[in-house]
C-alpha cells in the first residue's frame, strides 16, 4: 500500500533539512507519534493510528538506510508490532526535499505492508486514505 503526499515549507531547504531529520522534534508534529529512544540511524518509537472506529498502537524500530544531505533525500525503514492485537506493520519511507525559491517542497513517499486488523478490517477503510 502506498501513501504519497507532499507539502511546502516557507523556508529554504538548507534550513528545513536538519529539522526534518531530527526525529525527536518532528515526531510530535504527527498526531499520535512519539520517539521513545534512539540516536544516529536507529530509533524506537510508537504510533497511534485511528482508522474509523478502530484504534491501533504500533511500537517498533526505525532505521535510516540511506541519507543524502546533498540531494536532500532520506530513506527510512520501519518495522512495528501492534501493542494489543498482534498486527504487524512494515514501512519504507522516502523523503525528498527540493528547493522552490525561498521555500522548499517536501515529498514523502511511503510503502506500507500491514497485517492483522488494519489489513483486514475493510479495504474501504484503508483505500480511503491511501492512494
Amino acid at each position: 500500500m502506498r501513501f504519497a503526499y507532499s507539502f511546502r515549507l516557507p523556508v529554504t531547504v538548507e534550513r528545513a533539512w536538519p529539522v526534518l531529520l531530527d526525529l525527536r522534534r518532528v515526531a510530535p508534529c504527527m498526531p499520535g507519534a512519539a520517539i521513545e529512544s534512539g540516536e544516529g540511524p536507529d530509533y524506537v518509537g510508537r504510533m497511534k493510528v485511528k482508522l474509523g472506529p478502530i484504534e491501533m498502537t504500533y511500537r517498533g524500530d526505525l532505521h535510516f538506510v540511506e541519507q543524502d544531505d546533498v540531494a536532500h533525500r532520506v530513506k527510512v525503514e520501519g518495522a512495528a508490532k501492534e501493542i494489543r492485537g498482534g498486527g504487524l506493520a512494515k514501512a519504507t519511507v522516502t523523503m525528498q526535499a527540493v528547493p522552490a525559491g525561498n521555500a522548499c517542497e517536501v515529498a514523502i513517499d511511503s510503502d506500507y505492508t500491514l497485517s492483522g486488523k488494519a489489513a483486514q478490517f475493510g479495504t474501504g477503510l484503508i483505500d480511503e486514505i491511501g492512494t
Binding site: R84, G86, L88, S115, A119, Q120, G122, G124
Partner: protein, 788 residues
C-alpha cells in the same frame, strides 16, 4: 438382506407441498442453535489467529493473558501438541501427500487466521481481551499466494508438502490429438473460479462438556456429520467412543462448510476435558471468513474440439486446485479439481477425453466442501466454452446441446472417465428450457437493445448432479471410503410413527420430507409421523452432505419400515383371515389387497401388537421397531439445466441478472415447494459466485476481504425472478423413485450466469474467463478490447 435393497413405498404424501413443520420454530425465533446452549458453569473460548500468511512463532508470552481476571486457561501449541497431534487427513492414493493440521500452530504457521493460542474465560469478552495481551514474535517466511507460484515449487507453502504438490493425477488419458487436429473448431480457455465462502448465517460453533462423574463427553456441535465427528473425536483424542455423544441442535445453514472435522472442534473438547467445565466456542463472522474453510478455487485449462455440426469430438482439461495450506478432513484437496475433472464431460457424449488434476498447497485457508463442491467450476468452464463453440459453428446454444447430450437411446452410457449414466432427461431439459425462454424472441430483443447501447446476454447450462454421496460415489471420486446410514422406525401403541435418523436439519426441511416418506411407507397421514434427529445416540450416518438427505432418508426409513410392516401384516393377516402377503396399508387402514372392505385401522393393529397377545401369530416378536441401513447400489444422478438472462453495463461493468429459468429433474419430488426453495436459494448463491463473491489474498498472504463489506454476498436485490419447471425421471435405486437435488443450482446456475455475461459481451469480442465477473474485470476486458 442387502444394504441397497429398495423398499416399496407408495407415494401419496410424497409429491405434495406439505408445509414445513420446522418453520413455526424457525420463523418465531424459538429454534435453538449451538450459540443458545447455556450450561451451568459454562466458559467461553476465543482463539488467537495468525496475522501473517507464512512464518514461525519465535516467542510467545501468555503471562499477562493468564493473569487477567476471569481467565481460566491459556494454551499455546506447546500445550495441545502433546494431547493431540492435529487433524490428520490422508488418502490411500499413490503420490498423495497427507497433512496434519495442528490444533494450535506450534512450529510453522501456514496461513493467515491459523490458530496460535486459545483463551478460556468467564465470558467471550474477557477471553477476547486476554487475546490482546498475548505477545507473539514472528519470523516471516516467503509466501505462496497463488497456484502458479505453488506449481513452480521454488517457495514452499507448507514445508511438509514437497514442491507444494498435494496430488497430481491423470486418470483419463485418451489420445485426443487426432480429434483436435481434425476439428472444425477448437475453443479453449483458462477459466478460473475464485475462492468463496459458503457463509452460513450461523457460523461454526461448539459447546463441549465432560463430566467426571460418568466420564461422558457431550458435544453440541453445528455440524452436518455428527457420527463422523464422534468417531474422529474418539480417534484423534483417544477418547472412548461410547462415552461421546454429539448433539446437533438446529443448524443455521451449513452448505458443506460444516461437513468437516475442524481443528477447533477437537480443541474445545480437549479444553472441556482439561477444565472439567463446559466450554463454548462460537465463531465470529470475521473468523468464519478467514477460517471457516474456503471453496471452489479451480483453474480449468479446458479445450473442446467440435466438428462442423458442433458435435463434440474431444475434451482436454488440466485443472489446478489452489487448495490452501492443509487437507481438510475428510475431503482433502481432491474435493475440488480432482472430483470435478471426473464429471466435467457429463451430461454430454464426449468420445475422447484427456484430463489431469493438480492440487497444490498455498498459504491460504484449506479448501473444503461447499454446495456443488468440485462440480461448480468445471461446469462453468465447460458451459462457457460450449456457448463459444456454438457461436464458432453458427448454431444456437440450445441446438449445440441438443446435438451432444446423452439421449435415452444411449443408456447406459459410460463416460470416458467411467461414470455410468442410466437415466435422466437431458434432451427434454434442453427442449423445455428453450421453450420457457422463448429463444428467438430473446435474440430479437438482444439485437434491438444493442442498437440502443444496451448489452443483454443469455447463458445456458445443462448439468448432471451426482446426488446422494454413497460408497459407490466415494469410490468413483477416488475416496476409498465406505459409507452407510441407519434409521430406526417405531410404530407406537396408538399407531403413531416415530422415526429416528442421523440426518441433520440445517434448514432443508428434512423433518417434513422424511415424515412424508415415513407416512407413505405405512399409509398413514403425515401428521402421525415424528422425525427424531439431532444426536448420535440412536442413529449412525455419514452425514447430511452431498444432496443425500432425501435419498438416504427414503432408503433407510423404507427398509426399516418394511421390517415393521412385515410384523403388522402378520397380525393383520391373522385377524382378517388372509395371507400376510396380501395385506396392504392405505389411508390409515390395513386391508386385504383388492378388498378394502376387509380392513382394520392401522392403530388397531399397532395396539394389538403391544397389548393383545391373543392376536399374535406363533413365535411373534412384538418389537414394533426396526433399524435398517441403506447405501444405494450405484451413483444416483439427477439432472436439469438453467438459463440466465443478464444485462451488462459496459460503462460501469455492472451486471444485472434479469431472469433465471431452471429445469429440475430430481426423480419423484417429495415436496415440490421444498425443491423449489432449494433451487431459489442455490440460484442466489450462484449469482454471488459468478458476479460478487471472492476471497482475495494479497501477495503477502493477507486476506483483504475479511468483512462482509468487502466479501460481497448477494442480497434480495441481486436475485431476479426465477421460473422453475420440473421433469420427473424416477430413480430405480431409491424408494419412491427419489433423487437428491440440494446442490443442483450451485452446480449449474453459476455457469448460466457466467455464460450470459460472455454472451452479452461476445459482440464486442470480449471474453470473461476469471470469475466472479466483477465490474473491474468487465471494465478492464471491455476497455482492453476497445483499445485493440
Amino acid at each position: 438382506m442387502s444394504k441397497s435393497e429398495v423398499a416399496y413405498i407408495r407415494p401419496k404424501s410424497i409429491g405434495v407441498s406439505v408445509p414445513r413443520r420446522e418453520d413455526p420454530a424457525l420463523l418465531t425465533g424459538r429454534a435453538r442453535y449451538v450459540a443458545d446452549i447455556a450450561l451451568p458453569g459454562q466458559l467461553h473460548a476465543a482463539i488467537l489467529r495468525s496475522p501473517i500468511g507464512h512464518g514461525k512463532v519465535t516467542r510467545i508470552d501468555v503471562t499477562a493473558a493468564r493473569a487477567l481476571a476471569g481467565v481460566e486457561l491459556v494454551w499455546t501449541g506447546q500445550d495441545t501438541a502433546g494431547r493431540c497431534p492435529g487433524v490428520a487427513s490422508s488418502l490411500e492414493l499413490p503420490g498423495f501427500v497427507a497433512t496434519v493440521q495442528p490444533l494450535l500452530a506450534h512450529d510453522e504457521i501456514c496461513f493467515i487466521g491459523e490458530a496460535i493460542a486459545v483463551v478460556v474465560a468467564e465470558s467471550r469478552a474477557i477471553a477476547e481481551d486476554a487475546l490482546e495481551l498475548i505477545e507473539v514474535d514472528y519470523e516471516e517466511l516467503p509466501v505462496v499466494a497463488d497456484a502458479d507460484t505453488a506449481i513452480a515449487g521454488q517457495v514452499l507453502a507448507n514445508t511438509r508438502v514437497p514442491a507444494n504438490m498435494v496430488y497430481r493425477c491423470d486418470r483419463v488419458t485418451d489420445d485426443v490429438a487426432p480429434a483436435f487436429a481434425a476439428a472444425a473448431a477448437v475453443v479453449g480457455g483458462r477459466i478460473e473460479v475464485g475462492r468463496v465462502s459458503a457463509s452460513p448465517i450461523e457460523t461454526r460453533g461448539i459447546v463441549a462438556r465432560h463430566e467426571w462423574t460418568t466420564g461422558a463427553l457431550t458435544v453440541w456441535l453445528a455440524t452436518q456429520m455428527p457420527s463422523f465427528c464422534k468417531t474422529m473425536m474418539a480417534i484423534f483424542l483417544q477418547f472412548p467412543e461410547h462415552l461421546i455423544e454429539v448433539i446437533t441442535p438446529q443448524v443455521g445453514g451449513s452448505f458443506g462448510q460444516k461437513a468437516h472435522v475442524h481443528p477447533e472442534e477437537l480443541l474445545v473438547c480437549l479444553l472441556a476435558i482439561e477444565l472439567g467445565r463446559p466450554v463454548a466456542w462460537i465463531e465470529d463472522r470475521q473468523e468464519n471468513l478467514f477460517r471457516g474453510t474456503h471453496a471452489k478455487h479451480q483453474i480449468n485449462d479446458l479445450a473442446i474440439a467440435v466438428d462442423g455440426e458442433g458435435r463434440f469430438l474431444a475434451f482436454r482439461d488440466r485443472v489446478i486446485t489452489d487448495g490452501g495450506a492443509y487437507n481438510t478432513l475428510p475431503w482433502t484437496h481432491l474435493i475440488e479439481g480432482h472430483a470435478g475433472m471426473l464429471v466435467i464431460t457429463d451430461p454430454y457424449k464426449v468420445p475422447a477425453f484427456a484430463a489431469e488434476s493438480i492440487s497444490v498447497a498455498t498459504n491460504k485457508c484449506p479448501i473444503g466442501s461447499y454446495r456443488g463442491v468440485g462440480f461448480t467450476s468445471p461446469a462453468l468452464a465447460r458451459e462457457v466454452l460450449i456457448d463459444r463453440a456454438a457461436r464458432a459453428v453458427g448454431i444456437s446454444p440450445f441446438e449445440i446441446r441438443r446435438r451432444n447430450v446423452v439421449r435415452s437411446e444411449d443408456f447406459p452410457y459410460t463416460s470416458r472417465a467411467g461414470l455410468k449414466i442410466s437415466e435422466g432427461s437431458f434432451l427434454a431439459t434442453v427442449d423445455k428450457l428453450e421453450a420457457m425462454v422463448g429463444y428467438d424472441a430473446f435474440r430479437a430483443r438482444q439485437e434491438s437493445a444493442r442498437k440502443r447501447g444496451r448489452y443483454l446476454g443469455l447463458g445456458v447450462s445443462i448439468y448432471t448432479e451426482v446426488t446422494g454421496v454413497s460408497t459407490r460415489t466415494l469410490h468413483y471420486f477416488d475416496y476409498a471410503v465406505t459409507s452407510h446410514d441407519t434409521a430406526t422406525v417405531r410404530v407406537e401403541p396408538t399407531g403413531k410413527v416415530s422415526v429416528t435418523t442421523g440426518i441433520v436439519s440445517s434448514g432443508q426441511g428434512n423433518l417434513t420430507t422424511l415424515a412424508q416418506i415415513a407416512a407413505d411407507a405405512f399409509g398413514v397421514p403425515v401428521e402421525d409421523v415424528t422425525i427424531h434427529t439431532g444426536n448420535t445416540r440412536h442413529a449412525v450416518g455419514f452425514g447430511t452432505i452431498g444432496s443425500r438427505g432425501a435419498m438416504i432418508g427414503a432408503g433407510t426409513i423404507g427398509r426399516a419400515a418394511e421390517m415393521v410392516r412385515a410384523k403388522m401384516r402378520a397380525i393383520a393377516g391373522r385377524l382378517l383371515q388372509a395371507p400376510a402377503d396380501e395385506i396392504e396399508f392405505t389411508d390409515g387402514m390395513i386391508h386385504v389387497r383388492g378388498d378394502p372392505g376387509r380392513a382394520m385401522p392401522f392403530a388397531a393393529v399397532a395396539g394389538a401388537a403391544y397389548f393383545a397377545e391373543a392376536t399374535h401369530p406363533e413365535n411373534f416378536d412384538p418389537a414394533m421397531e426396526a433399524t435398517a441401513a441403506f447405501d444405494p447400489a450405484d451413483i444416483i444422478l439427477a439432472n436439469g439445466g438453467h438459463v440466465a438472462i443478464v444485462e451488462v453495463d459496459i460503462e460501469t461493468g455492472m451486471v444485472r441478472v434479469e431472469k433465471v429459468f431452471a429445469v429440475e429433474d430430481c426423480g419423484r419430488m417429495i415436496n415440490p415447494m421444498i425443491v423449489e426453495g432449494q433451487i431459489r436459494g442455490g440460484v442466489a448463491q450462484a449469482i454471488g459466485l459468478a458476479l460478487l463473491e471472492e476471497l482475495i489474498y494479497d501477495e503477502n498472504g493477507q486476506l483483504v476481504t475479511a468483512t462482509l463489506q468487502d466479501y460481497l454476498l448477494p442480497t434480495a436485490l441481486d436475485v431476479p425472478d426465477i421460473e422453475i419447471a420440473h421433469l420427473q425421471t424416477p430413480s430405480a435405486l431409491v424408494p419412491g423413485g427419489i433423487k437428491g437435488m440440494g446442490e443442483s443450482s450451485m452446480v449449474s446456475a453459476p455457469a448460466a450466469v457466467a455464460a450470459a455475461v460472455n454472451d452479452a459481451l461476445a459482440c464486442l469480442g470480449v471474453a470473461i474467463e476469471h470469475f466472479p465477473a466483477t465490474p473491474q474485470r468487465i471494465f478492464d476486458a471491455v476497455s482492453g478490447a476497445a483499445r485493440q
